[in-house]
């Protein structure tokens, strides 16, 4: 399908330009204004460094930033996958049995209401300074929103679909396999697009309370040294990484929601 006529692809490039040009222009404009105000007002570097200075720091320090960002991302995405999987499995179990749901839902709410900032040091005490506490915090951050969404999605079947499944004597497992799982997919991805960012934040928070590597440790150290340039570099690298993770989720979503009209986020 790649053999599109020249005019067609030209059209597409123009459409893409039209879509991406305004945000890109605004981005450059804000950057230029920032650069200008720092120089014009002589703002000291430890308060607000100019974008050019930050960019230079990212370039010169890239190995350090990359390896630490990699550690954070590995923890965040592992936690994201584990938390999401746990939520999906719990959702399915809840659909199987209302009794189990009634018994376990309060626990899920407790997990949700415990502040991550408070639980992170505990997990570090229990699990050490390695990757484990980061994964745990990231997973906990993802779990509840996904659980709520997936459970609602699993229950979102139309009445006539449920009735028809009853008519043909479909078992609970059949209804889940043929209908509920698909009905839940749009809800799942809707949740994942939000929780993927939360998992990165969760991993960084865990690094704050003690870790041997990661963006969180960079931020803590730079904070002690009042190194605003490094803080900004860490922030920018983190958000770029988070955006990358977000688009991976979007890419998987496009594959998974294969039927027309599936996407609930329009």
């Amino acid at each position: 399908m790649r053999e599109r006529p020249e005019t067609g692809s030209g059209h597409r490039i123009r459409a893409a330009l039209l879509a991406y040009l305004p945000p890109l222009l605004l981005f450059l404009l804000v950057g230029a204004f920032w650069e200008w105000i720092v120089h014009a007002r002589n703002i000291p570097r430890f308060l607000l460094p100019a974008p050019s200075v930050i960019a230079l720091r990212i370039v010169t320090d890239w190995q350090n930033l990359l390896s630490n960002a990699g550690a954070t991302l590995l923890a965040a995405s592992s936690g994201f996958l584990i938390g999401t999987a746990a939520a999906v499995i719990s959702g399915i179990v809840f659909v199987y049995s209302r009794t189990v749901e009634r018994a376990f839902f309060p626990w899920a709410i407790i997990v949700k209401t415990v502040p991550i900032l408070a639980i992170a040091p505990l997990l570090t005490i229990w699990l050490g300074f390695g990757i484990a506490p980061k994964i745990a915090v990231a997973a906990i951050a993802c779990f509840f929103p996904t659980l709520v969404n997936v459970t609602r999605g699993l229950r979102s079947l139309e009445r006539s679909v449920i009735d028809f499944m009853t008519i043909i004597h479909a078992s609970k497992a059949d209804v889940i396999r043929h209908a509920r799982l698909y009905a839940a997919l749009p809800y799942l991805f809707s949740a994942m697009k939000i929780t993927v960012g939360m998992s990165v934040i969760g991993a960084i928070v865990a690094e704050f309370t003690g870790a041997n590597q990661g963006i969180g440790t960079i931020i803590v150290n730079a904070g002690y040294r009042q190194d605003a340039v490094m803080l900004f570099s860490a922030i920018i690298v983190t958000s770029m990484a988070t955006i990358a993770l977000f688009y991976i989720v979007v890419l998987v979503e496009r594959r998974a929601l294969f039927w027309p009209g599936a996407d609930i986020d329009q």
Partner: protein, 274 residues
């Protein structure tokens, strides 16, 4: 006591009930919390096997409820009903009902063919190859050739209904229940669809209960028309349609057809009753 449909000459077991479908004194009250709705009161009728029965009446007179009760999707509040001498649940244990919904009720993530095959898959019918073949033959019966790989949202309303009918016919139900299957369609498509249903019914004999708002549709298709009156739903009359079968679409222009139609219209819309 001998049913015309039975051909066995030896056994003389007395059937529990005379007719294939027997509804006697069925009432249904929906009660949730403080409010309760009497949907059906003292409904009785019975029909032999392989008849086409239409249920007509004003909106809210309990047609859907009655159909769902026959299918075993709702329980009766009072009265009883039997299908082939059994409760709907017992009957459907080995012979699932066919059920066609107003909104088709297809699964959006399955293609037309997968949707038609779904009941066979769920029932683990023979082998996957046989299911595939069976589903394809019903796809053709519903004149959906060429659309087997489309998803429901890519079909027209009429095609969705045909897929839904094919899905319900492919496991060859002895009893087919249809709740306003053409209700969401425009007049033109609707007429085409009732002609199709006439053809399909002639090809595959089964007992049909068909809810409709269209009186011409009811007369064209049915052997019997049950007229219900509302609040609460009761049987007003049962009209036998003695038009010869096989019927074709042009029976519509016959004078008997008009006569039945006038009779029904008078009964439902006439001023002569409360």
């Amino acid at each position: 006591m001998v049913d015309a449909g039975h051909s066995s000459g030896v056994t003389l077991t007395v059937p529990k009930s005379r007719h294939f479908v027997e509804v006697s004194g069925v009432s249904k009250i929906f009660a949730d919390g403080e409010s309760s709705t009497e949907a059906l009161r003292d409904i009785s009728f019975s029909f032999p096997r392989n008849r086409f029965v239409s249920l007509v009446g004003h909106s809210g007179c309990g047609k859907s409820t009655l159909l769902r009760i026959i299918a075993g999707l709702e329980q009766v509040t009072a009265g009883s009903l039997s299908v082939d001498g059994m409760t709907p649940d017992e009957f459907s244990h080995d012979r699932p009902f066919g059920f066609v919904f107003q909104d088709a009720g297809l699964l959006p993530w399955k293609t037309t063919l997968e949707n038609i095959r779904l009941p066979l898959d769920v029932m683990r019918f023979e082998t996957p190859l046989v299911r595939e073949e069976r589903a394809r033959s019903y796809l053709r019966l519903a004149r959906l050739d060429g659309f087997e790989n489309r998803y429901p949202s890519q079909l027209s309303g009429g095609m969705r209904q045909r897929a839904s009918i094919a899905r319900s016919l492919c496991y060859r139900p002895e009893v087919l229940l249809m709740d306003e299957p053409f209700g969401a369609l425009d007049d033109f498509t609707r007429r085409e669809m009732s002609d199709e249903l006439l053809r399909i019914y002639a090809e595959q004999q089964c007992s049909v209960f068909f809810v409709t708002h269209s009186l011409p549709e009811a007369v064209l298709l049915s052997d019997h028309v049950v007229v219900l009156k509302p609040r609460p739903g009761r049987v007003e009359a049962i009209i036998d349609i003695d038009l010869p079968r096989p019927r074709s679409a042009n029976v519509r222009s016959s004078s008997e057809f008009r006569r039945y139609l006038d009779q029904l219209e008078e009964m439902i819309f006439g001023d002569g009753h409360a």
